[in-house]
Subunit: 358 residues, 2 copies
Amino acid sequence: MSHKRLFIPGPTEAVPEVLGQQTQWLIGHRSKDYTALYTGIIDKLHQYFETRQHATVLTASGTIWMDITARNMVRKKALAGVCGAFSQRMANTIRDSGKEVTPLEVEWGKAIKPEMVLEELAKDDYDTVAVVHNETSTGVRNPIGEIGAAIKKEYPDVMFVVDAVSSAGGDHLVPENLNTDIIFASTQKCFALPPGLSIAFYSDEAVERARSVPGRGFYTDLIAIHDYYGKKQQNPTTPNISLMYALTYQLDRMLAEGAQARHQRHEAMAQYTRNWAAKDMEMFAEPGYESITVSTIANTQGRDIAGLNGELAKRGYQIANGYGAKLKEKTFRIGHMGEWTLDDVKSLLWHIDEIWRR
Amino acid sequence: MSHKRLFIPGPTEAVPEVLGQQTQWLIGHRSKDYTALYTGIIDKLHQYFETRQHATVLTASGTIWMDITARNMVRKKALAGVCGAFSQRMANTIRDSGKEVTPLEVEWGKAIKPEMVLEELAKDDYDTVAVVHNETSTGVRNPIGEIGAAIKKEYPDVMFVVDAVSSAGGDHLVPENLNTDIIFASTQKCFALPPGLSIAFYSDEAVERARSVPGRGFYTDLIAIHDYYGKKQQNPTTPNISLMYALTYQLDRMLAEGAQARHQRHEAMAQYTRNWAAKDMEMFAEPGYESITVSTIANTQGRDIAGLNGELAKRGYQIANGYGAKLKEKTFRIGHMGEWTLDDVKSLLWHIDEIWRR
């Protein structure tokens, strides 16, 4: 297969030196060598995310944390902000785990605001609020800092869970500043690694809550994860060792660049893409709430997006069509995350312009 | 870290050419290229396991299928054979998912027999039976073919779930011959790949059952997995693409060797190890029920196992101590699975003899 530079919202480009880490010999996951590898990763995560919350790396895609949220955080009833396909999935997962959930719905393209959350929390006895930070389908970036502050001020016992799958590691997120009890991500997005691991930070209060919620299972049991790390500094089940090698290497690269610099690089790519789109199209996201890692652009000129991607493929590039039947061809998405730089984005957009000029 | 040849019961040795597959460029998991990769893997799994059951590869360790069993198969009450640490975990996972479970316990080292299962099934209204084929802690290989036949003859509606995490791909297992409704494995055992993926086969009846069981969640929802593959020949969430490259490559190697030849190779390694142990020790497993992929040996001479492993490390080898507080130093384990050959086992055992002679 020819190499296509992935400007889709994940998996994004992983560079050869990172992929190459996966060729190291395997080691036993109950060995001291593994403990050293894994605790090193946890230390680096603490440094990068400037947090004292608990950190963990679970062998599964980030989505598994929707199940973990449902099985560990929700005692009886959750409020879930729904503003696109992935936040809808969070609400569905809670419902399909046998818990009650109220979807707090806004029109796709709009953001979830703190006042909406507070208004709904006043109406019923909620124990958990779940919000997707960066809604990968619509390119909306929800104001989780403001939402977290609003919730915790009035409802300190409500657990605040944030899906940051497609933003963490690009967007600079500090759990304590956001008041999150669980915040989770996937390796194949802004971490620019292969898919296969999820990264999460969770509070002491999340541990306390989980201990009181029955039916957590095993693979999805936050307490099993937490206690095993406390006792042995390892994982309850066999982790993906190859990807742990790549993760430790990549976290060093991320620390060398710096969280703030990475944030600015992502913001610069997003800003350039927005200005480019503004020439004759519009952003799909509500102004002021546009993602800095994925731009969803309204295809107001009715251009052939599948055709564009076919042409881009010949030039070694790939972008993403709109998500699902609802947004396909009506929007298209450019993932500018992970390894990409402003120059890479400029090249991509030059090619798109050039294809459209023909 | 220096290279230790892993004779532990997983992760086992993955050879450089297999690890190297993971350096290929990532591709989008919603692309035609990915569909071709994944359907190719499913085809090869069907060929190798000589089955017409549904096959799937999920990004998680095999243990997640204990949660999937609890959430998808168990309607009300399960019977779980318990003969070691991993089968205990299966029983616990069902219980900790809020379902009823009766542990059918035998002394560690003994096997679960069909008549025990039938006797217990007659006593209560069970809807699921779960058995671990190859109990990695005790080195017992349960007679799942006989158990499956016995269950299905008298209780055709009872779901039969088998954990074959540490045997499938070594031991030759054909789902239809075993009457399994779900049988699952992990890549880091007899498939000789890095950890990070689980492989499972499931019957039409398992799909039917799952559709009638509420509370399946999302990542652990067999129906989400099944329907997404039916509709798009892809996975519901982002799969570990790097490991899929390695899996497709490794399945070609496994098909080239042949399932029967691999079975015989594992049997020869096990037989040699048993004869070696019989010189002055005993197998921990009940005679006639010894695993062909991992030998658990009773340390009847009271030798220092941790010390042995320290000496072996200097020579570039690693074996496993007994599992958990219960079996540590009282037993030790030699994993002879995946890539290893009879000659490799002979070399390992020669080194152990040589260390003990000093």
